[in-house]
């Protein structure tokens, strides 16, 4: 906190006339920012995008083609440091947590302005939470995340630059979760039924749609919308009122803006990158050989870090409530699921399907999370052990046809599915089917369309399924999956009515994990949860893909690209050695 105060004084001094403006100084050259340098102004970051944004309304945006854009337009009270992954001051310059852990008071930076020049105050914050996020009319996935014991916190204005949140119970992830986009009260307050009973309940969902004139979309983010040409281009430009400065007092961002080039095929985006039309690209495994071959000639830098797998998990789920009762009985046996894990040849998947760009995953928590526990019980590829376990639970070949049978003599077989068209997942399934065959286990692989699969999965109509879930640093983000009554508890929905002792314990651990503000204590809870999940193999985790990134060397301050942030997440700090260059060629 001391450093921050010094920074604030320094910025006030350097900015001179803006004495009242409490800018945030980003300390390039120090600590985690040591690889960052002060840059020049100018130029656009050019990135490829696979689809049109569907809305510019951050809180209702769902897919990355929208959030990649909206994420640059807005800012929150608290930010996650892109390097350390820890919460740090954003629009709030500091905060205090009361001794009982129930009240959190945020002190806002003073003298900041919205991208249209209007002043930013506590009213905007209170409006954002009470009028938008906590408003049941709004179709946001952000509200449920802030629920503590099924109740929402309350948000009150203390004075023009102080806001207090009161929680129904202590909630450790609060600081990480509270950084959602703050919306401008002066633009949107009349659309919220909390403030204006005559407002249309849909108004806050449809506002800032794709047809909105760009100047109407007002935010506190580093960029603002300039233009959207459907199927072609989204242009963002620098927000002149942005509230961060570099150590020399230069206002961020350095870039004039960002251009999202819309192209509907990854193959084409890859070709465009190779052709020098884009600055950055996250290559697929199959792209790497080509890019490495051309890198020196074209001035491309490629980052592959074997220590950094992506957030999220890929797994095989066995439906312990599946409609076939005979199967269900076996799917509920922990030995069966452990045997299934012994059948997953993770190393061959990495070598042959992920082309070396993967690491085996064993725990439900993403590997980059500070809560990740690496030493969970593991059931690695071992056909003999798998066969032994299957023998042990009575699945043996009873009629000599080479397939293991149910006790009544019929062949034991189940259907494994994944979303058709995802070649990596399809190949992993095929490899599993082959390995299962080696121990006499009959698995029928039936890929189906994604929507049909989701319906089956969440309707409890499937037998076994290979899919993935997104993840984050915060294990609580997976509560809807792990919690016995969670909407995504798809491997055993019946846990909700009749929870097993293990399911009950995991529910408890998730509650305990958020009620303490002490990291080490929370870590112990999540560690126990990870051990339980791994022992019981509710989901059989397979392989996690490694982080890959490629960019043209003209781009500067790129050292921190990681699974946490790519070029977009760091766009406010990036600069171009030659601002007139896109990719490796001078434009204009």
């Amino acid at each position: 906190m001391k450093k921050l105060v010094i920074g604030l004084v320094a910025s006030a001094f350097l900015v001179g006339f803006a004495l009242a403006q409490e800018y945030k100084v980003v300390p390039f050259g120090q600590d985690e920012w040591k690889d960052f340098t002060v840059g020049n102004y100018g130029g656009y970051l050019v990135v490829g995008s696979l689809d049109n944004p569907k809305t510019f309304n951050e809180h209702v945006a769902q897919e990355t083609s929208s959030t990649d854009v909206t994420g640059r337009l807005h800012a929150g009270l608290v930010e996650i440091n892109p390097i350390t992954d820890l919460p740090e001051p954003g629009l709030a310059k500091s905060w205090e947590i009361s001794s009982d852990g129930l009240t959190i008071t945020f002190y806002l930076r003073q003298g900041l302005q919205w991208s249209d020049g209007e002043p930013f105050t506590a009213d905007d914050v209170v409006f954002t939470f009470n009028g938008v996020i906590f408003n049941e009319d709004v179709r946001t996935d952000y509200r449920d995340v802030l629920m503590v014991e099924d109740k929402l916190p309350t948000c009150e204005k203390v004075d023009d630059f102080t806001v207090a949140f009161t929680l129904p119970a202590p909630f450790r992830p609060f600081l990480r979760m509270i950084g959602g986009a703050i919306y401008p009260a002066h633009k949107l307050q009349q659309l919220s039924r909390v403030y204006n009973p005559d407002a249309d309940p849909e108004a806050l969902n449809s506002v800032w749609g794709v047809d909105t004139p760009p100047e109407e979309i007002v935010g506190m983010g580093p960029f603002k919308l300039k233009e959207f040409i459907p199927d072609q281009l989204v242009v963002l430009e620098r927000n002149p009122y942005y509230w961060k400065v570099d150590p020399q007092g230069n206002k961020l961002p350095y870039l004039d803006g960002i251009k999202f080039v819309i192209s509907f095929s990854l193959d084409t985006i890859m070709l465009k990158f190779r052709n020098g039309e884009l600055d950055v690209y996250a290559p697929r495994p199959e792209d790497l050989a080509t890019l490495i071959g051309e890198a020196a000639a074209k001035g491309i830098e490629i980052m592959i870090d074997p220590t950094k797998p992506l957030f999220g998990t890929t797994w095989i789920a066995f439906n312990q409530d599946c409609p076939n009762e005979n199967l269900r009985e076996y799917f509920r046996m922990v030995e069966f699921r452990q045997a299934m894990s012994h059948l997953v040849d993770r190393q061959s998947m990495i070598d042959n399907i992920y082309l070396g760009l993967g690491v085996p995953q064993w725990s439900p928590v993403s590997m980059l999370s500070p809560f990740y526990y690496p030493d969970v019980p593991k059931f690695p590829y071992d056909l003999e052990r798998a066969a032994q376990l299957l023998d042990q639970i009575g699945l043996v070949d009873r009629n000599g046809d080479g397939w293991r049978d149910f006790p009544d003599g019929t062949t034991f077989e189940f259907e494994l599915t994944t979303n058709a068209g995802n070649t990596i997942r399809e190949q992993c399934c095929q490899m599993f089917v082959e390995d299962a065959k080696k121990v006499g286990l009959k698995v029928n692989f039936v890929p189906i369309a994604f929507n049909a699969l989701v319906t089956k999965l969440l309707g409890g109509e499937y037998e076994a399924c290979l899919l993935g879930l997104t993840g984050s640093s915060e294990p609580h983000g997976g509560r809807n999956v792990e919690w016995s009554c969670g909407g995504l508890h798809f491997w055993k929905y019946s846990d909700c009515e009749e929870p097993t002792p293990v399911a009950q314990r995991i529910d408890e651990l998730f509650d305990l994990g958020v009620k303490t503000y002490d990291f080490n204590e929370a870590y112990e809870y999540y560690k126990e949860y990870q051990i339980l999940a791994a022992e019981n193999q509710f989901l059989i985790y397979t392989v996690n893909m490694l982080f890959r990134y490629a960019f043209y060397k003209n781009l500067q301050n790129t050292a921190a690209f990681s699974p946490l942030v790519g070029a977009l997440g760091l766009s406010e700090f990036l600069w171009k050695a030659n601002p007139n260059m896109v990719g490796n060629r001078v434009v204009g």
Binding site: K54, Q62, R139, D141, N205, V454, G583, V587
Partner: protein
């Protein structure tokens, strides 16, 4: 003729209605609905998904939703809205795309006809010559090569073999980046032509090949007719015999095809549009199908059904116009 056209237009209405009913209920057979994509998001609770369904009316039976939609069209000219972008359904399909789609489609059409007809005539008049074999062979390749694959090959060729980037040229899309949001200039026009050419080749190839085959077959038929023999025996120049007597008669079925190809004009560029990143209506329609964005899908289907009918009508009318033997009244 006028009465015939009016009659045909009136017939369209019940046909469109029936098509809309069938397509709406076929659409219901697709598993899942618009909310399916939300369901795998761990940040949405079950209660909120249910709320969402109620909001969009997806919890109501299909016939209720159909009735609401069709009465909206009849009474207010309201085709519903996109659940995904909250735009009116027609905006979600056409906005920023209709003009480009028409330009690409008609450009391709002109490209196809100006190339295919002369080649078809050449092939027919030089039947079984080396030139005929060669062009026929090229034609078969054109028909058999998948559109999307060819598009990818063309782009790959431009980058990997020609290395157009080193000359400052872009690939895919309609313009290089610096021209997309710039006002029209000569340089922008030249750049547009550079981007349009591969599109014409890719989209036009299959059509050209097909048309060559039709033209060749038709003309061969006609060339065997007695009136061609008569024309020749009158001592007419071979050029006149071919173009004024034979081609003039051989082309009639192709005119009908031209009318009926109206919906194809929207559909044909689909795969190329995805690979080459073009703003087209068909891709927007495909996107709505994937997202099960009901009203946009329905409006799109209705629009394509309408085009098909108008195309048929146009084909019939044009045929009557070029062939004086045909009378509808």
């Amino acid at each position: 003729m006028f009465g015939y056209i009016v009659r045909r237009i009136l017939y369209m209405l019940p046909v469109l209605l029936i098509i809309s009913i069938i397509s709406f209920f076929v659409l219901q057979l697709m598993p899942g609905d618009f909310t399916t994509a939300f369901r795998l998001n761990p940040r949405f609770s079950k209660a909120q998904i249910a709320q969402l369904e109620a909001r969009y009316g997806l919890d109501k039976p299909a016939y209720v939703r159909y009735w609401k939609w069709i009465t909206g069209i009849v009474t207010r000219g309201d085709f519903g809205y996109s659940l995904e972008t909250q735009q009116p359904a027609f905006d979600a399909l056409f906005k920023g795309r209709l003009g480009w789609t028409l330009l690409i489609s008609f450009g391709t059409l002109i490209f196809t006809w100006t190339i295919a007809i002369p080649i078809g005539v050449f092939s027919a008049t030089h039947q079984y010559s080396v030139g005929d074999y060669f062009l026929t062979f090229v034609g078969f390749i054109g028909i058999s090569i998948p559109n999307f694959f060819f598009a990818l090959v063309v782009l790959w060729f431009m980058v990997s073999v020609l290395n157009v980037g080193a000359r400052g040229l872009g690939i895919g899309g309609l313009f290089d980046l610096q021209y997309v949001d710039a006002p029209w200039t000569w340089a922008k026009f030249v750049n547009f032509m550079w981007h349009l050419l591969p599109v014409l080749i890719v989209v036009g190839l299959a059509g050209t090949a097909g048309l060559i085959r039709y033209m060749r077959g038709q003309l061969l038929d006609t060339l065997g007719q007695q009136y061609v023999l008569t024309a020749r025996s009158k001592g007419l120049k071979e050029r006149l015999v071919i173009w004024k007597h034979a081609v003039r008669n051989a082309i009639n079925p192709l005119i009908t095809m031209l009318g009926m190809s109206l919906p194809d004009l929207f559909a044909g560029a689909f795969f190329a549009a995805i690979i080459m990143g073009l703003p087209t209506v068909e891709r927007a329609f495909w996107n709505s199908l994937q997202r099960q964005d009901e009203y946009v899908v329905m409006s799109g289907l209705l629009f394509f059904a309408f085009l098909l009918q108008v195309g048929n009508l146009l084909g019939d009318v044009m045929l009557a116009w070029v062939d004086p033997r045909i009378r509808y009244d």
